[in-house]
Subunit: 275 residues, 2 copies
């Protein structure tokens, strides 16, 4: 059953020509506000011509544009009156494949942060913002992108940030560069990778401070880590979810940025002038 125009669009998206699909996607992207404006504005936002917009609403089954707008307004009015029914997409009863995934992910995040105090985060951020040493980041098979993501941001706001990539032999040799003042950020969830554990141990022996992102079962690296962030990873899927760790990473990136700004780091001001 189709109860909202958004659903109707999703349903017929496949049968639409390219330009009309652009219109549809533009509408969905900022649903439903664009649809309440004039045809001219709608078409400009979508980058198509006005007739295309009209053909688009015609395809959805409306006689004319005002009728289409009325429907949107009615829908909006209904939503405003019952905030509970705020969900645009129906709760996907029964065999819904998406919502359980999202719900689980959101739960994971809440749970992850519940076990993570502001102080912990602030401490780690302070460590990362302390620019007397270098920062190295590395991840496992599936978590390496998280290390990359974090490195991409940190490298902008401070110097000496290195993502360790490629073959094991490549980064193993970088151990020579690491010392007491340096920080090593490791992402490792099951199945924990032996190579990473060995690497972490050697780094630990050299006095490197290790920040570990892992799952709730804790990678063996936790043994060597100065800071451990345990994220929830369980979702109804064949794979584990790294989303909670991702959010923690983003939070940390934000916290480090803020601390450096507070310190009045010259680099930050320079960066902002460049943006």
């Amino acid at each position: 059953m189709i109860s909202s125009i958004a659903e109707l669009i999703a349903d017929r998206l496949g049968t639409m020509p390219a330009s009309e699909r652009r219109a549809a996607q533009t509408l969905i992207a900022s649903y439903p506000m664009i649809g309440l404006k004039t045809v001219a504005e709608f078409s400009a936002a979508a980058g198509v011509s006005s007739p295309t917009i009209l053909r688009f609403v015609a395809r959805l089954g409306f006689q004319n544009y005002p009728e289409f707008q009325s429907s949107l307004q009615d829908e909006l009015a209904a939503q405003l009156q019952s905030p509970a029914t705020r969900t645009l997409n129906p709760p996907s009863p029964g065999g819904g494949t998406v919502s359980p995934m999202l719900e689980a992910t959101l739960d994971n995040m809440r749970e992850t942060f519940r076990h993570l105090s502001d102080k912990q985060l602030a401490d780690i951020a302070a460590r990362l913002a302390d620019r007397r040493g270098k920062t190295f980041l590395i991840g496992g098979r599936f978590t390496d992108p998280l290390a990359r993501y974090m490195a991409a941001h940190l490298a902008i706001i401070q110097p000496d940030v290195f993502h360790l990539a490629g073959q094991e032999s490549m980064w193993r040799d970088r151990l020579i560069d690491m010392g007491k003042r340096d920080v090593l950020v490791i992402f490792d969830i099951r199945r924990y990778q032996d190579s990473l554990v060995r690497f972490a141990e050697k780094a630990h022996q050299r006095g490197v401070q290790i920040v570990l992102f892992t799952d709730q079962w804790l990678s063996p690296i936790a043994r060597f880590a100065r800071h451990v962030i345990a994220g929830r990873t369980a979702v109804p899927s064949a794979w584990d979810s790294s989303a909670a760790l991702f959010v923690v990473a983003e939070t940390l990136i934000g916290a480090v940025t803020r601390q450096l700004e507070a310190k009045g780091a010259k680099r930050i001001r320079e960066m902002e002038s460049l943006r």
Copy 2:
């Protein structure tokens, strides 16, 4: 301070003539829907004449009726999207200090999925699971890790999955390998990268099906995309958040895996025996 039109009306209600007050009360009664309709409908609902409505909005300080309607729409859009007003409903469960960053991120995810139907995701998953062509993934400066993450998973459950990395000249030449049956997954959020746009355009000309992950303002690549996923990226930080897109990516990975399992792909069974 007056922040909404409703407040503005309440403020000046006392200074209004009888008919205009009727108009005001009618608007408040079913705020703000009546205001979005035509002057004629508004006047009929209030039981006054059209000029009275016009005088009413003029008294509120608007130059003309369309300007008044635009303000209402902006207000509505802000309500629909801002987490601030929504915190009225779920009063921040759990006690104490939850980072505003997390709250914003969770809202972004809910909002992103609110604009994303099961059917859309299923369609995209079906496209990715359709193994008659190759799959290429690429991302921008900060989103490339997302492309990597997705590639790392997809490459396991099916052949011919390629992450395009390195210098622009490197992947630009891969266009030669791309054709109608192939899929190109692009991650691009602002600031949108020209190189990616150009790449997408060329791929599009070759008939490649493009799946675009972008932010709510839509990368120009949306023009060429077969499927567009618009994620929310705003967080209280110096950086945009890719967390919502990350979760969508994970959801898609899960969906593709399930579809391939359902198809009874030999590869999947082999994989499972290896885990």
